[in-house]
């Protein structure tokens, strides 16, 4: 795209883009580390994730402030306006991703006392891998602003939802087997839910990018394969 007549304006927009990318990288790293801490019962790593969250929170605030000041000074319109509004929304989604990673990290202490069945850890890792791939791809799409790719990410969220539902069932069986599993399994259930949410945020970001690029909202409901909320209901 052609540059602004006022070059400082371009600098402001570039600043937002750069900070969003930084936030994305950090959020991604926090999620990966939180799951590694969980699987390996690594308390030190969990602690690092918890303290990293303040950096992410601060970055979101700075992006918000820059966006407000840019709107006030430049009265952006059309794709500039969508760009700035998109930055605010994406920063909020990434901040939430960080929070979810942090929440996983906090649960490491509780889960670490119980010995985690290897297979369960595998399932959780697999879920996290998918969510992380989605997050990574969405950040790449953010750099390229391709509406087609944004749409394809949005359509893939149901993979994560399906695995989350199967993990949910698996955790239930562990709890039924031995009541002593209930505490760690409940924590793991929250962890799985957190990771599933990360996929939702990645999808939100994909939708925001689609809007930034085209000025239109993506059409149709996003695909949903999350049936965990009906597990145990009669007839399921």
């Amino acid at each position: 795209m052609s540059t602004h007549i006022a070059s400082v304006y371009d600098e402001d927009l570039k600043y937002l883009t750069r900070r969003i990318s930084e936030m994305g990288g950090l959020a991604e790293q926090m999620v990966a580390e939180s799951v590694r801490a969980l699987v390996n019962s690594d308390l030190a790593l969990a602690q690092k994730v918890i303290s990293d969250d303040t950096i992410l929170d601060e970055a979101e605030r700075q992006i918000g402030e820059k966006a407000i000041v840019t709107i006030a000074r430049r009265q952006p319109v059309a794709s500039d306006l969508r760009e700035i509004m998109g930055s605010i929304r994406i920063a909020a989604d990434l901040e939430r991703v960080g929070d979810l990673g942090k929440n996983n990290a906090k649960r490491v202490i509780a889960v670490a006392t119980a010995s985690l069945p290897r297979q369960l850890a595998r399932g959780l890792e697999h879920l996290a891998e998918l969510a992380l791939v989605q997050l990574k791809e969405v950040l790449d799409v953010y750099a390229s602003r391709s509406p087609e790719k944004a749409n394809s990410i949005r359509e893939r969220d149901n993979e994560i939802d399906a695995i989350y539902t199967s993990l949910f069932r698996e955790l239930l069986t562990y709890m039924m087997e031995d009541p002593r599993n209930i505490t760690p399994c409940t924590h793991l259930l929250f962890c799985a839910k957190n990771i599933e949410r990360i996929g939702d945020h990645a999808t939100n970001i994909a939708e925001t990018i689609y809007y930034m690029a085209t000025g239109a909202q993506p059409v149709g409901e996003r695909p949903k394969d999350d049936t965990a909320n009906t597990v145990g209901a009669i007839g399921t």
Binding site: S2, I5, Q75, A78
Partner: protein, 271 residues
């Protein structure tokens, strides 16, 4: 004059703009200044009780188009207009049209406030007098009050109606010019950068006025301020090098314009 009730106007606004009927229709309008062609087959329609903003870089033809709507271009000898412009289905370039009467129906407000060097009262009554719209002093008084009311100036000048119009502040002078245009009960008001000589407060007052006037009048405004176009209009037309590039709902125009040239212009980018 077409007086829609306020509720009817609001309702019309709620509906999609494209259901509002056309007040003026411009078909294949071209304008030549001598050999030089300034407008190229512009097809632009003006909707009733709507503020239509004309935007575009200097020399793009937006003011030229505006001036074709009440034949102000007639005052320039070398100027030639082709195509067809209608006001309520009547061809305004038809030889049988009385230009003075046309300009009473399609009034104009200019960039620089240009009150007559006469009293405030006489500024407003000048038009009604020459058009024979009032016979008695009481009728003229009535027109002066209602016009100044509509222009949002009445409370500021009611105690000094016989002082000179040129003694008012710039913003007040511009609103006096609007009162003068309104006094002859036009159907359409053309505004050529009405706020470019005004400070932000006076500009806000004129913009508020434009918003109110829309209930009773159809307004076409040329402005260099993108923000002003976004604030006051419901439809926006973008001109470039004598061509109409895009005409759209203002909301659409400023969030997601169809044409790249519109995009570049309103965002202040190099095309």
């Amino acid at each position: 004059m077409n007086m829609m009730s306020e509720a009817a106007v609001e309702k019309a606004l709620d509906q999609k703009m494209n259901t509002v009927p056309f007040k003026m229709i411009g078909k294949d309008v071209s304008v030549y200044y001598g050999e030089k062609r300034a407008l190229f087959d512009v097809n632009l329609n003006v909707r009733e009780n709507t503020v239509t903003a004309l935007i575009g870089p200097s020399g793009c033809g937006k003011s030229t188009f505006l001036r074709t709507l009440n034949r102000m271009n007639d005052t320039i000898d070398s100027c030639r207009v082709t195509g067809k412009i209608t006001l309520d289905d009547g061809d305004i370039y038809d030889p049988s049209i009385d230009v003075v009467e046309l300009r009473a129906r399609v009034g104009m407000v200019f960039q620089k406030p240009n009150p007559f060097p006469k009293s405030i009262y006489e500024n407003v009554t000048y038009g009604p007098k020459i058009h024979g719209l009032a016979r008695t002093k009481a009728e003229l008084d009535q027109i002066v009050e209602s016009s100044l009311q509509k222009a949002g100036l009445w409370n500021e000048v009611k105690d000094r109606l016989h002082e000179s119009g040129t003694g008012l502040s710039g913003g007040q002078q511009q609103r006096l010019c609007i009162a003068r245009a309104v006094a002859v009960s036009p159907e359409v008001i053309l505004m050529d950068e009405p706020c470019s000589a005004l400070d932000p407060i006076a500009t806000a007052k004129v913009e508020e006025l434009i918003h109110e006037l829309r209930t009773n009048f159809t307004i076409v405004i040329v402005t260099h301020s993108m923000q002003q176009a976004a604030r006051v209009s419901q439809r926006t037309a973008m001109f470039h090098l004598g061509n109409l590039v895009e005409e759209n709902d203002t909301d659409k125009m400023f969030t997601n314009p169809d044409d790249q040239r519109t995009q570049d212009y309103i965002m202040g980018r190099f095309g």
